[in-house]
């Protein structure tokens, strides 16, 4: 058996990569991709804990399915909003989207 720690460390690394991407990337689509990486880190956690901590009930797997489904809905909306921004001002760079500020 692969020890549980490996999964947790793997998911922590993925999660950190995702956070770095969100903070460092300026292209809205790449920010969205980074958030997806974070969601997938969470899914790895849920699956690993499901297999190691509650192997009898499999609730963690169900949590993963719900997380994936809601993530898909979010991505759909996100791409639509980014497309809307692109139509309006020909850029998806989040630094250039700055009409609203005090």
């Amino acid at each position: 058996m692969v020890p549980l720690q490996y999964y947790i460390i793997m998911s922590a690394i993925l999660f950190t990569i995702g956070i770095y991407g969100v903070l460092a990337r300026r292209n809205a689509i790449l920010v969205l991709l980074s958030v997806e990486i974070m969601f997938n880190a969470v899914n790895i956690n849920f699956m690993a804990f499901s297999a190691y901590i509650t192997p009898a009930t499999m609730v963690g797997q169900i949590y993963t399915i719900f997380a994936v489904a809601s993530g898909a809905a979010e991505i759909g909306i996100g791409l639509a909003i980014i497309l809307l921004i692109y139509r309006g001002r020909e850029t998806v760079n989040v630094d250039e989207v700055n009409m609203l500020k005090w």
Binding site: L32, F39, F46, I53, E74, G78, I81, N98, M99
Partner: protein, 479 residues
């Protein structure tokens, strides 16, 4: 199994209303469509509110321990449903313009309301997460509802990006908690935490991540960055909805989380809440002062109010919980009222600068008087809802020896005098740029009248509601 569905009748009605609005949108012709769709949604929402009120007094946990029915949740659900119904009515004028999509608007509001009901009743973190998603995703779309207005799309983008980021943080926190306890059920978490060291850093990290996710929903510092931009960029009728209703659900789920799942961690979360309360109050009030845009100003003032409400979460105990529920009622009445007036003024002046309120005292005396009442209530002037709310929150804090927290709250209320008075000065002391009388539709008058009634009722004769909130909280706490 099937009998459990009786408890879910309100939610089922709201779902049916949402789907019904979609079908009606396809079937109906263009004539009078916004009004018919709005009336259909309002009928559905009010029917659901009626059924919710009918369940009052019942206590049950249904759907495999996922969903709680208690008076605490039921009362907040009634408030959410009524608030959603009123904001559907508020949008009718906005949706009567050509090329607006009334069916989609009403559907999104109703769907978001369903999400808030799920949040309010959830006894499981996964269900709370799904409720938050169901609330947020329609709100992202609503924020960008003016498709040709790039400010509106920008508001949607900012709301969305910060929303998914906090959703991911929250889910990660939930996965850590699941790893530690093997469950996401709030009651079971509390039971299992008994056997775990409560100073476990992973547990603390998980809790902080989850609280961060909910703090985004209520726009508490440091998760408030979306609020001013979204309030400014969104259509004003959407802003009125976002500013009042989802915050009730956010606080409900936060209250359930800390009181049901984390009684073992009380010192940790009260400290966290106290810190957030101070930061939120101070940031909100300081940032509200230089604002030129009334919607941004009200956004920061709303952040400050979330800070006052967080004081009630920072001091554990029944009185504080009752004060929080009362404050939420007062806050939503006065904020929704103020935004309704911003909608009315914006329909004439087509802008949302504070200066567009100039001379409102002569152009529309009743409107100006009502705005003054709402601003005084936000300030915490006696005989208004805001005063009673602040009084309850601060006295709950003092009672638990958190005098410094109450003191910071009072000082912040004094600071807020400056920017609230700025609007009043514009209305009464600055000459109007246009001298014509303002036309306000009957629907808007109705909404303002309702908000005024609630504001005064909670200010002048609050005892029944105070007793009710304390009673509710006792019911909740015994679970």
């Amino acid at each position: 199994m099937a009998r459990e569905f009786i408890y879910l009748v309100p939610e089922i009605i709201v779902l049916a209303t949402a789907l019904g609005v979609l079908v009606l949108d396809l079937v109906l012709g263009a004539k009078r469509k916004p009004l018919i769709l709005a009336l259909a949604s309002v009928a559905g929402l009010l029917a659901a509110a009626g059924f919710t009120a009918n369940l009052m007094g019942q206590r049950a946990i249904v759907m495999a321990d996922m969903f709680v029915i208690d008076s605490f949740g039921l009362v907040l659900k009634v408030v959410i449903l009524v608030g959603a119904a009123l904001s559907v009515l508020l949008a009718v004028g906005f949706l009567e313009r050509p090329k607006s999509h009334p069916g989609e608007y009403d559907f999104l509001i109703v769907a978001s309301t369903l999400g808030m009901m799920v949040m309010t009743g959830s006894n499981n973190l996964l269900l709370a997460f799904l409720g938050i998603q169901l609330t947020s995703i329609p709100l992202y779309i609503l924020a960008g509802f003016k498709r040709n207005d790039s400010k509106s799309s920008e508001a949607a983008l900012k709301y969305f990006l910060l929303g998914v980021l906090t959703a991911a943080l929250m889910l990660y926190g939930m996965s850590l908690l699941y790893g530690l306890t093997g469950t996401l059920n709030l009651t079971t978490i509390a039971a299992r935490l008994g056997g775990i060291k409560t100073n476990d850093p992973v547990l603390f990290l998980g809790m902080v991540f989850i609280i961060a996710g909910f703090s985004f929903k209520i726009a508490a510092v440091p998760f408030h960055f979306w609020a001013p931009d979204v309030y400014e960029g969104s259509p004003t009728c959407v802003t009125a909805f976002i500013s009042a209703v989802p915050k009730i659900a956010g606080f409900a789920v936060l209250l359930r989380l800390v009181y049901t799942a984390f009684p073992a961690l009380t010192p940790q979360w009260t400290g966290l809440m106290a810190l957030m309360a101070v930061l939120t109050m101070v940031t909100g009030n300081i940032m509200a002062i230089p604002q030129k845009d009334i919607k941004r100003m009200l956004a920061f003032s709303g952040i400050a109010h979330v800070g006052y409400a967080l004081i009630a979460l920072a001091v554990p105990g029944q009185n504080a919980m009752g004060a929080l529920v009362f404050y939420l009622l007062a806050y939503s009445a006065m904020t929704a009222g103020a935004f309704t007036i911003v909608v009315a003024v914006g329909r004439v002046s087509h802008e949302h600068q504070i200066t567009s309120f100039a001379g409102l005292g002569t152009r529309a005396p009743v409107l100006a008087a009502a705005m003054t009442v709402f601003l005084l209530s936000m300030l915490g002037f006696p005989l208004t809802a805001g005063f009673t709310g602040k009084f309850l929150v601060f006295s709950a804090a003092i009672e638990k020896h958190y005098v410094w927290l109450a003191l910071i709250g009072v000082i912040n209320s004094v600071i807020s005098l400056y920017y609230y008075f700025g609007v009043v000065r514009q209305m009464y002391l600055t000459p109007a740029r246009a001298t014509t009388k303002m036309q306000v539709s009957g629907l808007v008058w109705l909404l303002i009248a309702i908000a005024l009634t609630v504001t005064f009722a909670l200010g002048i004769y609050p005892e029944p509601v105070i007793n009710l909130t304390r009673h509710l909280v006792v019911l909740f706490a015994r679970f």
